[in-house]
């Protein structure tokens, strides 16, 4: 065959501005091929990035999940509620007045003053709590007697399994009606329907008009209220308690007989506001502050405490933000380390392929072509690493909660969101560019003659 019979060189591609893109695409294929040639090495060099991205994605999901959990919890308590409680002043127990009846806490008068806050407070639920025994026939159980009003059920989002909750008529006519918590109902009436039966509480008989379903315990509110189990509560009307129980709670302490007189144990106020908006939150906080100011003025001692569940929400949000910034730090460090790994391997690759670089340069590759080739190779590595990390992270998010339930019997709430996923893959690409640039530049700056002589 003669050279003159060979088909001619095709004309140059018309300048479309996409020649560079074409070269990038070729480098892309080349990069994948050369990575495939060194699978294990490529895997080891992007391990840092895989671990970094998967950790970020998993931790973000778990962080968001527990945040969501806290939010649900707060919503269950009522995110726009304000809880004012009577608190025994600290000096009271230490003084000599052991045998006296200690009187402290919120007064009915306080309640009526809070009522004057007008349109901002949509509901006000007072509550008195006495530790008590509850009997039915020969069965007995310890629980809490809670004296409250009709709105209590709504404010605390109670659900009845049968019957009804207390109503205004019960209160007004001071009827001996009661509603049982699920736990109490189970203990006193294991085999029968409690509805309509009479239970005995502090020598008074109360007819059961309703039974609640199992209620989730709430977490402590702002550290000032311990976690409570409501399932052993028995509810009677506020005014019924006034006449049937009186205002003194008798508590036996060792060696002395003492009592406590508390008019109102707790009042839960619902503020008419939307907690999703900052104005709504501001409003809840303002009402909380107004109540604090009022109580500070009216009470000689600090025998009250105001807790705002919303504070917990914000605390959770702050914790989430702290967690996120810590995570960003960890992610940055691991991606930095991953980037160094890439740079290391790329420098080794450049040295290893010095001769190839010389050959390409001799055949007409420009410095730019060499840069593109090695940069694309670095970026392909980190991108594949980022995607592998993403996959692994998602596997962790779906795989860990069942394992944790199985072995540690704890719930591991998780919520995936696309932002950290997109971000970590995006950052992986950027890491490839940043840490691939120097090795690629070194490759491009090699002297073609020396590179050709290299072996």
């Amino acid at each position: 065959m003669d050279i003159r019979d060979i088909p001619p060189v095709p004309p140059l591609a018309a300048a479309t501005g996409f020649e560079g893109l074409n070269k990038v695409r070729r480098s892309f294929v080349l990069a994948i091929r050369s990575l495939w040639l060194h699978k294990l090495r490529a895997f080891l060099s992007v391990l840092g990035i895989i671990i970094g991205t998967s950790a970020v994605i998993a931790l973000m999901a778990f962080g968001k999940g527990s945040m969501q959990d806290a939010l649900e919890d707060i919503k269950r308590q009522g995110a726009t509620n304000i809880v004012v409680r009577s608190v025994k002043p600290p000096d009271e127990g230490a003084t000599a007045s052991r045998s006296f009846v200690a009187s402290y806490g919120l007064k009915v008068a306080d309640l009526s003053r809070m009522g004057t806050f007008g349109g901002t407070i949509s509901k006000m639920v007072p509550m008195r709590v006495f530790p008590t025994e509850v009997r039915y026939l020969d069965r007995m159980s310890n629980g809490r007697l809670v004296a409250t009003t009709e709105d209590y059920a709504q404010v605390n989002k109670l659900t009845l399994s049968s019957g009804r909750f207390l109503n205004d008529e019960d209160n007004f006519r001071k009827l001996n009606h009661c509603v049982l918590g699920a736990g109490l109902a189970d203990k006193l009436f294991p085999f029968e329907d409690p509805m309509g039966k009479s239970v005995v509480i502090q020598k008074q008989e109360y007819r059961v008009v309703g039974v609640l379903i199992d209620r989730m315990p709430t977490g402590g509110t702002g550290g000032s209220q311990s976690a409570e189990d409501y399932n052993n509560d028995v509810y009677i009307s506020f005014d019924t308690a006034k006449v049937r129980v009186g205002s003194t709670v008798v508590i036996r302490t060792s060696g002395s007989r003492g009592g406590e007189r508390v008019e109102v144990s707790q009042v839960t106020l619902t503020v008419d506001a939307d907690f999703e908006t900052s104005e709504g939150r501001e409003k809840v906080r303002a009402v909380g502050n107004a109540i604090k100011g009022m109580l500070k003025e009216d009470h000689l001692r600090e025998d009250w405490a105001v807790s705002v569940p919303l504070d917990r929400l914000e605390e959770a949000e702050r914790a989430q933000a702290r967690f996120t910034s810590l995570l960003v730090l960890i992610a940055s460090i691991s991606l930095f380390v991953g980037g160094i790994g890439i740079m290391n391997i790329m420098l080794a690759t450049v040295t290893e392929r010095t001769r190839e670089i010389g050959i390409r340069r001799a055949l007409g590759a420009k410095q730019r072509d060499i840069i593109i080739q090695f940069l694309v190779e670095a970026v392909v590595q980190t991108t594949v690493g980022g995607l592998a990390g993403l996959t692994f992270g998602v596997i962790l998010v779906f795989g860990l909660p069942p394992l944790s339930r199985l072995f540690f019997e704890t719930n591991l709430p998780a919520q995936l969101s696309w932002q950290p996923m997109a971000l970590s893959v995006g950052v992986s690409v950027i890491v490839g560019v940043v840490f691939g640039l120097y090795p690629a530049w070194r490759a491009a700056k090699l002297d073609p003659i020396e590179a050709l002589r290299h072996d």
């Binding site: 065959m1 003669d2 050279i3 003159r4 019979d5 060979i6 088909p7 001619p8 060189v9 095709p10 004309p11 140059l12 591609a13 020649e19 074409n22 070269k23 070729r26 091929r33 050369s34 040639l37 001769r355 190839e356 010389g358 050959i359 390409r360 340069r361 001799a362 055949l363 007409g364 590759a365 420009k366 410095q367 730019r368 072509d369 073609p448 003659i449 050709l452």
Partner: protein, 235 residues
């Protein structure tokens, strides 16, 4: 015939610390289009240094170099790259194929850097060249699956793919046995007959005997410049 290579007072120095090494000491050379030149001379006389400059891989310290009236001594790195991919073909002693590429992919490489679209026409040309050098049945082989002679033929096909004005071969038979060397020289002679200008470095008189002109260098200067009226391939 018109000169394709015109070199005037070409000087190449290497600077190693305080020491200056004069490798080329003012060469004046002119190679005609369609010629087949052997560069000879003892080791260290500057043959490869001259070839690198002629091949636009290196720039002279001083002097002029015109490649078909293009002043390549004063071009930028990018421009030199374009000259290499468009007008030059290289054949190396060590073949210098890319091991991860197939025969066809190696052949098409200069076109890639020239910016020719890789379509069916390009492929046709590369395949035709591979067939011409006798590797029509080895198109998808990798270099390591080929013998030295076969690899050098791939390199020749690659040097031809951009239809170069000048082919530069630095000891093309240096790694080959005498029978294979003859095959390669026959091939180069065919190309020369078809009009290709070839400049070749060699140590062996047997190989130089294939060319039409023999230039001997010594210590960076031209020692002798002899025309060979009866090159082996033309008898």
């Amino acid at each position: 015939m018109a000169a394709i290579v015109e070199v005037q007072d070409l000087i190449k120095n290497y600077y190693m610390g305080d020491v200056t090494v004069n490798v080329l000491k003012g060469l004046d050379l002119s190679f005609e289009e369609g010629d087949f030149v052997s560069l000879m001379g003892p080791s260290g006389s500057g043959k490869s240094t001259l070839m690198n400059i002629l091949g636009c891989l290196d720039r002279p310290t001083a002097g002029n170099y015109y490649l078909r009236d293009r002043d390549v001594a004063h071009m930028t790195d990018n421009q030199l790259s374009d000259v290499r991919s468009t007008y030059l073909g290289f054949i190396f002693q060590a073949y210098n194929l890319l091991p991860q590429y197939t025969v066809v992919e190696n052949i098409e490489l200069p076109l890639v850097y020239q910016g020719v679209p890789l379509d069916a026409r390009t492929k046709d040309r590369c395949v035709a060249l591979a067939e011409m050098v006798g590797l029509g049945t080895r198109l998808d082989h990798r270099p390591l699956q080929l013998s030295g002679g076969q690899q050098q033929r791939v390199a020749i096909a690659r040097a031809l793919v951009n239809d170069p004005q000048l082919i530069l071969a630095d000891e093309p038979t240096g790694n080959l046995d005498s029978r294979t060397s003859v095959e390669i020289m026959e091939m180069l002679t065919e190309l020369n007959k078809a009009g290709k200008t070839i400049i070749m470095v060699t140590h062996e008189n047997d190989i130089a005997a294939w060319s039409r002109r023999v230039v001997r260098l010594r210590d960076g200067m031209v020692e002798s410049d002899i025309r060979n009226d009866k090159p082996l391939g033309f008898r």
